[in-house]
């Protein structure tokens, strides 16, 4: 019995360690899971960049499936993902909204004029307080919100066609059919 263990225990320990380390290689510590999944959107009230005097609140997110993109003009990755957002808006499968995180108003307007505006409303979060309430820790971040105003998914980092096709769209289709 002891002889058996003597040879097999080190191997077993090695294999166990290998499994954990292999798993560790695939985890990205910069992807922090959102605590807000399956929770309602935090209350917010931000001035809308495009419509002076109007505000953008969580109330507008009710009724239809939507994406809320947190971006800023100083964020280069946001520029990179912008064509994807324009494509998504053209597809019109979901409503697109945005929160402009710690930005300059005129710069934001110029940026949108230059690259195009896929958003129905853009909340201007000058202090970053709303972003903190949403658990945002780095732009861009994109929240998928169902018609009841419940956050269903959060993507951290720039959106890609891949992410849209293989991650967001399947969830949206499931929400549509009532599977989740």
């Amino acid at each position: 019995m002891f002889r058996y263990w003597r040879y097999h225990l080190p191997l077993a320990v090695f294999l166990l360690l290998a499994v954990f380390l292999w798993r560790g290689l695939q985890l990205d510590p910069h992807k922090i899971p959102s605590t807000l999944i399956n929770k309602p959107v935090p209350k917010f009230d931000l001035p809308d960049i495009m419509v002076p005097g109007k505000s953008f609140t969580q109330q507008q997110l009710l009724g239809e499936i939507s994406l809320v993109n947190v971006w800023a003009t100083w964020c280069t990755a946001c520029q990179q993902e912008h064509p994807i957002l324009l494509d998504i808006a053209r597809d019109s499968k979901v409503k697109l909204y945005a929160i402009d995180y710690k930005d300059e108003l005129t710069e934001a307007k110029n940026w949108l004029a230059q690259y195009g505006n896929p958003f129905l409303a853009i909340g201007f979060d000058a202090t970053g307080q709303t972003a903190i309430d949403w658990g945002v820790y780095g732009t861009p971040e994109t929240f998928l919100i169902d018609s009841q105003g419940i956050i269903r998914y959060k993507h951290v980092g720039p959106l890609t066609k891949q992410v849209w096709q293989h991650t967001l769209l399947p969830i949206i289709n499931k929400l549509r059919t009532g599977a989740i």
């Binding site: 263990w5 922090i32 899971p33 605590t35 710690k102 970053g128 903190i132 658990g135 820790y137």
Partner: protein, 138 residues
Amino acid sequence: MKVYFLKLMSAMLLLYSLTAEAATEQYPFVNSTQRAAFKQLTQELRCLVCQNQDLADSNAPLAVDLRAEIYQMIQRGESKQSVINYMTARYGDFILYKTPLKSTTYVLWLSPFATLLIAFSVLIIIVRSRYQRMTGDS
């Protein structure tokens, strides 16, 4: 040599304490309890942008904002626990350097003890078998 080393160490410590002070400088507190609470909280909470730094140490814009938030909460007289609750509600347990003991972290907390137990068991088995062999031989 030894004296030189000690001098170097104390100089480094002094430097470290100076930098640690730098972050709290801009926040005046009415009493030392609040200052201590602020210091403790910013050292126990992780900066989410540069993850190996605590909030006290980091100059990332988000860390600056979260420090300001903690300061305001303390100024309002809120407890340390309510600050921690506020942070974990938004950023999850990841923001805590001290991992809480709960069902999802049992393996993390208990595996060192389990490993120790296994190691001791193996040791006992080995010692016993050797002892038996020795007494059997003699």
